[in-house]
């Protein structure tokens, strides 16, 4: 007998309808064959399905079983076809009757017949809504991901056995109620609070601007001055994701399997800090069936690259497109995929290989050649795309030891309040404009509309551009940063002092 079960595959960030056809033929030599461009993980479903069916108290038919995953020319990956294949075999051998209306079955089976956490459930739910498929059956562990999407029935399935008794009408599985879009992921506690950091007031202020406007920042300073600490404290002052942003982030997290069991929407901004040995594919995304890389996992969040010049040259240059466009387009033989990659870049570096160039107390031991080679890694085009450049000097240890008023220093929570207020202003401003959430997202046409400079500010900017020979890109980026600084003061127009502050982060006075 022939059974047809529906499931989904995904290409890039899109889910695609997959028809799983299972034929159980009494004639012919018994066996279990699979066709339809199945990868190794899919091929291995045979053993999982066979054992799971036997261990759930059903009978694995002694017959010639052929499974076809259609469309046959599309490569299939992952373990999600276990459940549809098992259901197909059970129906084709007359052990269960599948619902007559189209439903999606999705999930990896464990050998005991239970369902395991499976990637991509959120995308399946989006597809179900788009194709008007009413019912989806997914593993209970990741059913919450799907429950965010309204208008579909999500059935959380514990095991093959419970699903069969549900379909037979013996013991119904209750469909999941659409959850209110609340945070179900655990709160990520930042490693440091800003109140723990002594001194570095200018850097803290810069971080605040970055968090508010979504700008990129480059921190340079000798080892141990607190660059890493400042960056790691950053999640504590980032505003939570808005609803729209959250849906985008959840999509990416869902296909990479980054959503923990039981969680639904991602509400915390991602904070990714890949090591500097990360490969280009790991950073940007890729592989023959393109997968998102760190830049996409940091979408709407922070990408922290410590020891910036230690990254391979190729990786750094590959950051150009995502920094400019907020997305990466990956072309492979199998097709072209675009992943969103709109992140705040926080880059940290030493000024030279030994780290002490320009330090008043230590001698720099690097040769001119070494310094040149080190700084050449930070190419013009990359540095031009970074809005704020900041020197983080070493803090005097005596000052550190004398410091006792840690309670008087501002806590991350207080800074966050200002950041959130600044974001609210931006949200109102960009309401209804697709893809623009903060000042850094503005395109040039938006700048004319939303970032009017006062005459004095305009004059100041004009002088600075001429004196320091700033590029057109830098000019526009300066306006965006000024806009953010003005927002932090809730000032409607951009005044000369806002531009002056933005300029101070931009002009690097090299020694």
């Amino acid at each position: 007998m022939l059974a047809k079960v529906f499931s989904a595959s995904n290409y890039g960030l899109k889910a695609i309808d997959i028809e799983v056809e299972v034929n159980v033929a009494e004639k012919g030599f018994p066996g279990f064959g699979m066709v339809g461009m199945a990868s190794k993980a899919v091929e291995e479903a045979r053993e999982r399905v066979r054992t799971a069916i036997n261990n759930s108290g059903f009978e694995f038919p002694v017959a010639k079983i052929t499974v076809n995953l259609a469309p046959a020319d599309l490569p299939k990956e992952g373990s999600r076809y276990d459940l549809p294949i098992a259901m197909g075999i059970l129906e084709a051998s007359g052990q269960v009757e599948l619902p007559s209306e189209k439903s999606y079955f999705y999930g990896e089976l464990s050998l005991d017949g239970g369902l395991r956490h499976t990637k991509g459930v959120f995308l399946l739910a989006v597809l179900a809504k788009e194709k008007r498929v009413k019912n989806i059956f997914v593993p209970r562990l990741c059913a919450n991901e799907a429950s965010v999407i309204q208008g579909i029935n999500v059935y959380p399935v514990d095991s093959l056995k419970s699903l069969v008794s549900h379909l037979k009408g013996n013991r119904k599985i209750d469909k999941l109620l659409t959850v209110k879009r609340q945070e179900l992921m655990g709160q990520i506690r930042p490693e440091f609070d800003f109140s723990e950091i002594v001194g570095q007031e200018q850097a803290k202020r810069a971080m605040e601007i970055v968090a508010t406007g979504g700008h990129n920042i480059f921190l340079m300073g000798p080892p141990g001055s607190g660059k890493t600490m400042l960056s790691r404290a950053m999640p504590g002052i980032m505003p939570d994701l808005s609803e729209k942003e959250s849906l985008e982030v959840t999509k990416i997290f869902s296909i990479t399997g980054n959503i923990p069991a039981g969680a639904s929407l991602v509400r915390k901004r991602p904070f990714r800090s890949p090591h500097h040995t990360t490969s280009m594919v790991g950073l940007i995304g890729g592989s023959s069936n393109p997968k998102p890389g760190e830049v996409s996992l940091a979408h709407r969040g922070v990408l922290f690259l410590d020891e910036f010049p230690e990254f391979s040259r190729g990786s750094l240059e590959a950051l150009r497109q995502p920094l400019e466009d907020g997305r990466v387009t990956i072309s492979r033989a199998s097709g072209t995929v675009t992943f969103p990659a709109n992140f705040i870049l926080v880059a940290a570096a030493n000024p030279c290989p030994c780290g002490f160039m320009g330090d008043p107390k230590h001698e720099c031991k690097c040769s001119i050649y070494q310094i040149n080679r080190y700084q050449k890694k930070l190419s013009g085009p990359i540095m031009d795309r970074i809005d704020l450049h900041l020197n983080v000097p070493a803090v005097d240890v005596n000052k550190l030891m004398a410091d006792k008023n840690s309670r008087q220093r501002e806590k991350s929570a207080d800074i966050k309040k200002r950041v959130v207020a600044g974001r609210k202003i931006q949200q109102k401003r960009f309401d209804g404009i697709d893809g623009v959430f903060c000042n850094a997202d503005m395109k040039n046409r938006h700048i004319k509309k939303f970032a009017m400079l006062s005459p004095k500010a305009n004059l100041l900017l004009k002088q600075a551009v001429n004196k320091y020979a700033l590029s057109t890109r830098t000019y526009f980026r300066l306006i965006k940063v000024s806009r953010t600084i003005a927002d932090l003061e809730a000032s409607l127009d951009i005044k000369d002092r806002h531009v002056a502050e933005a300029l101070q982060y931009r002009i690097r006075l090299d020694n």
């Binding site: 012919g28 030599f29 018994p30 002694v62």
Partner: protein, 124 residues
């Protein structure tokens, strides 16, 4: 142990032979051997030359006999069958149609046949 298996194999081949003869198959040769291995039974079904692989299992404890016929085993039978046809060109000419069958049986511990299945054309 090895010898015991061998005896069981022979016993299974005899059971299969009687079973197929009842289905009006005619025996051509038993246990055709060469350096590549052995074909248990070679028979004629109407006008088709049939190479038969016999599998026997005592009890269910070690899996079904069907599981013991892998694609590799089928491939091996095919190779030996080809060399059989080379050795007997007359037979090959007389029976241009050929196929590979399998007879799988499970015996009770006391030697009673609990099931016997015949699968036609397992060579694909």
């Amino acid at each position: 142990m090895k010898k015991y298996n061998y005896q069981k194999g022979r016993q299974g081949e005899n059971i299969a032979l009687v079973f197929l003869q009842k289905l009006s198959f005619e025996l051509v040769e038993k246990n055709f051997q060469n350096k590549r291995g052995e074909i248990d039974l070679i028979m004629i079904d109407k006008n088709v030359l049939v190479f038969v692989e016999v599998k026997l299992k005592v009890g269910q404890d070690f899996g079904s006999p069907e599981d013991m016929i892998s694609p590799r085993k089928i491939w091996r039978v095919r190779r030996i069958a080809e060399s059989f046809l080379v050795e007997r060109p007359n037979l090959a000419k007389k029976y241009p149609q050929q196929r590979i069958d399998a007879v799988c049986m499970v015996l009770e511990k006391d030697g009673q046949v609990s099931r016997i299945n015949h699968y036609k054309n397992i060579g694909g």
